[in-house]
């Protein structure tokens, strides 16, 4: 069953047709990769899923509800979390607090003046946040300030923040950009391990073919705002249109 249905989405910025009649269907529990050359419209498309942009035409249905015309926080509350290209974390807060905030947002909704209880007495939420940090391998650093982490750890922390909300759909915008090979492999392992255990549907935008082919169940290729191919990794690899548009000839 498709958890995310994108139908006829177009978006124009002035003279630039960023997205042109994009159709996409993401199966529940799958890892769906979106690849394409720079400027193909990948990030624009992702922004249409999280309420940052509204497309000019088309529909985006998630789990039977439209994602258009509602605010980012409302989209998150119905189960969509996002990892950004540059990690968006709470740099001045501790790692534990970084994970506690999304956990409280999940429990208390978009707004609650919960001013009386102490955070350290909220055992259930705290235990949950600590277990997520443990799972992701950052538990030992839970009292450190997030801003002092390495880039790879920041990315992992951001993933922990998203995972703590038990999202139905996780959007990852170039999760391994700027990472060393070792960090990249660690991230792949993490996504496989954590994602499969929880059955979270994921959409991954990625340039690194190694990441794409090790994770994806299905790949959509975007070029000049249009999906030119959508298929399993094996078939995408051999597709001549993809090779021409994106890989620029035979694969390295």
């Amino acid at each position: 069953m498709a958890i995310l249905q994108v139908r006829g989405v177009s978006k124009r910025f002035g003279g630039l047709q960023a997205l042109n009649d994009v159709n996409l269907s993401v199966e529940e529990g799958h890892v769906h990769a979106i690849i394409g050359p720079n400027g193909a419209g990948k990030s624009t498309l992702l922004n249409c899923f999280v309420g940052k942009l509204d497309p000019d035409t088309g529909t985006v249905m998630f789990d039977g509800k439209s994602l258009l015309g509602i605010k980012p926080y409302e989209i998150n509350q119905i189960g969509v979390s996002r990892v950004f290209q540059t990690p968006e974390i709470f740099a001045d807060l501790t790692l534990l607090e970084n994970v506690l905030i999304p956990s409280f947002a999940k429990r208390d909704g978009g707004f609650k003046v919960n001013w009386w209880p102490r955070v350290d007495r909220e055992r259930v939420v705290r235990d949950h946040a600590e277990s997520v940090l443990e799972e992701i391998g950052l538990y030992d650093k839970r009292d450190e300030v997030a801003g002092s982490l390495s880039r790879g750890d920041k990315r992992r922390l951001e993933m922990a923040m998203c995972l703590s909300q038990d999202p139905k759909l996780l959007l990852l915008d170039e999760p391994t950009a700027g990472m060393s090979r070792a960090d990249t492999n660690a991230t792949i392992d993490l996504l496989k391990r954590v994602g499969e255990a929880r059955g979270i549907t994921k959409i991954v935008i990625e340039h690194d073919m190694h990441v794409v082919f090790s994770l994806a169940d299905k790949i959509s290729v975007l070029a000049q705002g249009t999906v030119i191919a959508e298929n399993t990794p094996e078939l995408i690899k051999g597709d001549p249109r993809v090779q021409e548009a994106y890989l620029g000839g035979p694969q390295e």
């Binding site: 926080y73 807060l93 905030i101 102490r118 939420v125 909300q165």
Partner: protein
Amino acid sequence: MKLISQPGPKTDFSMLLLFTIVVLTMPIWLAPIGAGYPDLVQKFAIYGLFATGFNILFGLTGYLSFGHAAFLGVGSYTAVWSFKLLGMNPVPAVLLAIVTSAIFALLIGYISLRRTGIYFSILTLAFAQMCYQLAYSVLTPITNGETGLRVLQSDPRILDGVITSQTEDGGPLITNFFGIDMTKTWETNIFGIDVQLNAGFYFCAFFLILGSYIAMRIFRSPFGMMLRGVKTNQNRMNYTGVNTRPYTLAAFVISGAYAGLAGALLCVTDPLAGAERMFWTASGEVVLMVILGGAGTLMGPMLGAGIIKYFENILSAFNKSTLEGMLGFLPENMLDGTISVLSLFVGEGWHLTLGLLFMVVVIFLPGGLVEGAKSILLKLTGGGSKKSASAQAAE
């Protein structure tokens, strides 16, 4: 490897207990430095409360309001109207002031919080100046313009005589807490120090302690954590399922209510409200207090308020003869030069000292006095190596 951990409930409890003792004994331990007299300790308590409330907005959410004096003024006017209509008991005055200033804060905050950063600051400043102008001229029937609003013998004061027996003679009207005059001062001698214990001060001190306790609960609560999240990364908050607008509005209203309470307390011993209380310099002063003491710390704003009010009242009263008295130990030839230099910084020149202190704090102790003291303490106790490692990691 910078570690920060929130103090546990036991540490907080002992901190609050210590704070309560320190506040209640203020007239005693401030007496030797000449600051123990009722008028000044009361100012410490009131402006400490004002700064504590301002810190809930500025210290937690990072929204810098330049118009909080408007709520101070609204609180004062409400209190005086309460004295005029309901009688000289300060309790209804304080409660009504909290309610009206919160409503004002809701309206001004609702509009101003549509913008962030400097635009938010300018909007709040504009609103406060509008309030000032309205109070000064347009709304004269309510505010009594530049003369200021006072309580008159002819005012209804419907509860006077019901709860308390107010004087019938033509004497000055004094606020009265269920039979205790707020201007009442007990003079006594403790450990050889002449001490003045004032009823009005203890009334204000009660609200300072209560206000600090509530601020502490907010700081340690999930609500407070959400506010700090807004300060650190509003974008992430939005993508984390948090509707940031009502959070910032709640913080704005709470800090506005604190300001209104402080404004009402200013009228407790002196039932008089004037428009100048809303002037932009008063809004700026609370910003200075919070930054000086340490924005985002619990005790910093109160410390900042104390220092500024001390300077304003004590240092400004210094003159050449006071300096001569203090520096009498210096040899004759040095005395004149030293005094002529120092006299620039006292009396009328106390702003100069404040300005220098402010610059030193902002440049060398960017977290304010409280954070600065903490990091110095950490260095002294051997945490220095850890600290420098964190600085490297941050780079």
